[in-house]
């Protein structure tokens, strides 16, 4: 008796859920009708009314992709949620009993239904595989969909002209270096319109995360790691950059604003800033894809002059080796 859990148990009074014998209402047809009508309406409303306003907007290709994917997922998710809710609401209202003392043993007897179980698994598996295929295409075709791809990106943009920008995260501020403009480093993030941009995200200390919200870019900043994320700007406007990986005291205050401007405005800004910062650019270390502070004479980055707790141990270890 207990072994019949997965097999069709039509005998001894258990009725298969799919149909309804005479007199019994056709539950599934009712539920299906309600479900399909609500779902269609909800999906259409969402797609046309809400969807275009879903963040992160359409400022870049990555942002637009994220918006499209979110909307597609939402359109699939809505019927799932509505389906379960419709069924539950129907079940709870149709088969509810007022609180009867003694709780009689009189419910349905079916311990399983082969058709329902198979259909359930088939449908969920199909949806899941479909989502996987969709997600993979949407990840690979737009060159990583704005996510950090590590130092050696395998999905790269097709554009021939790419503006590289190094994002340097440190506790607790982002600075930006423009290697193709003489390697000046600034607190401002200004981007040209209609340009493919490669953000090379790195960190000087702990793990940060460069989240350019309206650009649809997110890439972790790890020390001594070049994490590349691509996107193409489509619209001018301003955007927010936030740190998205807890990095200590000022994590919540580690944000700044950037701008996408026209190409000519960008050119003139970059040229002007390059000249303004020239005195300090000379003092910066030579450009490298991972920002190595030892190159500017900081002695491995341990302050001051190599006497922090690691350095002391090093001395100790070296002495031991000599003995």
């Amino acid at each position: 008796m207990s072994d019949g859990a997965t097999t069709h148990q039509a005998g001894s009074g258990g009725t298969p859920p799919a149909g309804g014998p005479g007199g019994e209402p056709r539950h599934f047809r009712r539920i299906f009708t309600v479900w399909i009508s609500i779902s269609v309406v909800a999906d259409l409303l969402f797609w046309f009314l809400v969807g275009p306003h879903i963040p992160p907007g359409r400022m870049t290709s990555a942002a637009g992709g994220a918006q499209f994917d979110f909307n597609v997922l939402f359109v699939i998710a809505l019927p799932v949620i509505i389906g379960v809710w419709t069924y539950m609401a129907y079940a709870l209202s149709t088969w509810r009993k007022s609180r009867v003392p003694g709780l009689p043993l009189s419910g349905d007897r079916a311990r399983g239904h082969f058709g329902v179980q198979t259909a359930w698994m088939a449908i969920t598996s199909t949806v899941v595989i479909g989502l996987f295929v969709f997600g993979t295409v949407e990840l690979i075709v737009p060159a990583g969909a704005g996510g950090g791809e590590g130092p050696n990106p395998i999905w790269t943009p097709t554009s021939k002209t790419i503006l590289p920008i190094q994002v340097i995260a440190q506790q607790w501020k982002f600075t930006y270096r423009y290697p193709t403009f003489g390697g000046f480093e600034t607190s401002q993030l200004i981007l040209p319109d209609n340009t493919t941009i490669a953000f090379h995200v790195t960190s000087l200390d702990v793990i940060h995360d460069f989240w350019a919200y309206q650009l649809g870019i997110k890439a972790d900043a790890n020390p001594q790691q070049d994490n590349v994320a691509f996107t193409t700007t489509d619209q001018v406007g301003s955007f927010t950059v936030r740190c998205d990986e807890l990095c200590g005291l000022w994590h919540g205050a580690m944000y700044n604003y950037g701008k996408v401007v026209t190409k000519s405005a960008f050119e003139s800004w970059a040229t002007r800033t390059r000249a303004q910062l020239a005195a300090n650019t000379k003092n910066l270390p030579p450009f490298a894809w991972t920002y190595d502070p030892s190159a500017n004479g900081a002695g491995g980055g341990y302050y001051p002059s190599n006497v922090d707790h690691f350095s002391k141990v090093e001395t100790y270890g070296a002495q031991r080796a000599k003995v």
Binding site: Q224, F310, V313, E314, Y316, G317, R320, A321
Partner: protein, 224 residues
């Protein structure tokens, strides 16, 4: 040994008299639990040491700043070989002791068992001593870090094996008289004796796991 009757104190509940069938049933369950528990303990150990192995290979393949293993530094190889040898000896002796016990040779079991404990203690002592003789400091490289982690975990591992074997031997000495009344530790049908044998088998299996772990990480840290 008949059904155990417990005497309640002032606040008495129902007095439970277990039937012989129930005692036998619970005894089988206890034996099975020791068997399963041993395997679970090994499983826990596998996941723990797999974490260390993951750290080893991850840092090795990363080789950040060429600081995985600069200049091919190695922890003292003589110590490493000695620690491994004594641990393997302890494992082999513990397994041997278990077999001798099953064969009814209780003297052999005790001799081999205590030798296993001694061997394990020597391995432990050497592992601790090795820490004072390192040609590198713990944070000098990825290798040095992993080695330090391994040293700590290895101490815990060997200590676990020693504890298991030692408690069995100590218990055996206390229970010797009781066991010998009915066929000795190897054959006594007393519940205590049966669980004792199950425990000895468990300890032997655990020692085999210790030996495999030891060889694996010895290869990682001293050979490649």
């Amino acid at each position: 040994m008949s059904a155990t009757t417990h005497n309640n104190g002032e606040t008495s509940g129902p007095v439970l008299t277990e039937t012989p069938e129930e005692l036998a049933y619970e005894l089988r369950a206890a034996e099975g639990s020791i068997w399963t528990g041993t395997r679970l303990a090994i499983g826990i150990g596998v996941f723990a040491f797999a974490s260390l192995a993951f750290a080893y290979f991850y840092l090795r393949s990363n080789n950040a700043f060429n600081l995985w293993r600069p200049r091919g530094i190695t922890a003292p190889t003589s110590f490493g070989a000695a620690v491994m040898a004594f641990t393997l000896a302890a494992a082999a002796l513990a397994v041997l002791a278990g077999r001798r016990l099953r064969g009814g040779q209780t003297t052999d079991w005790q001799v081999a068992g205590w030798a296993a404990v001694l061997s394990g203690l020597i391995a432990l002592a050497l592992q601790i001593w090795e820490q004072t003789q390192l040609p590198f400091y713990p944070g000098s490289s990825g290798y040095a870090s992993c080695y330090t982690g391994w040293a700590v975990m290895n101490m815990v591992l060997i200590l676990g094996g020693i504890y298991w074997s030692e408690t069995l031997l100590a218990r055996f000495m206390r229970l010797r008289r009781a066991f010998t009344e009915e066929g000795g530790a190897a054959g006594s049908p007393l519940p205590a004796a049966r669980l004792f044998r199950a425990n000895v088998e468990g300890a032997a299996s655990f020692w085999i796991f210790v030996a495999v772990t030891e060889v694996f990480f010895w290869l990682l840290f001293y050979m490649i």
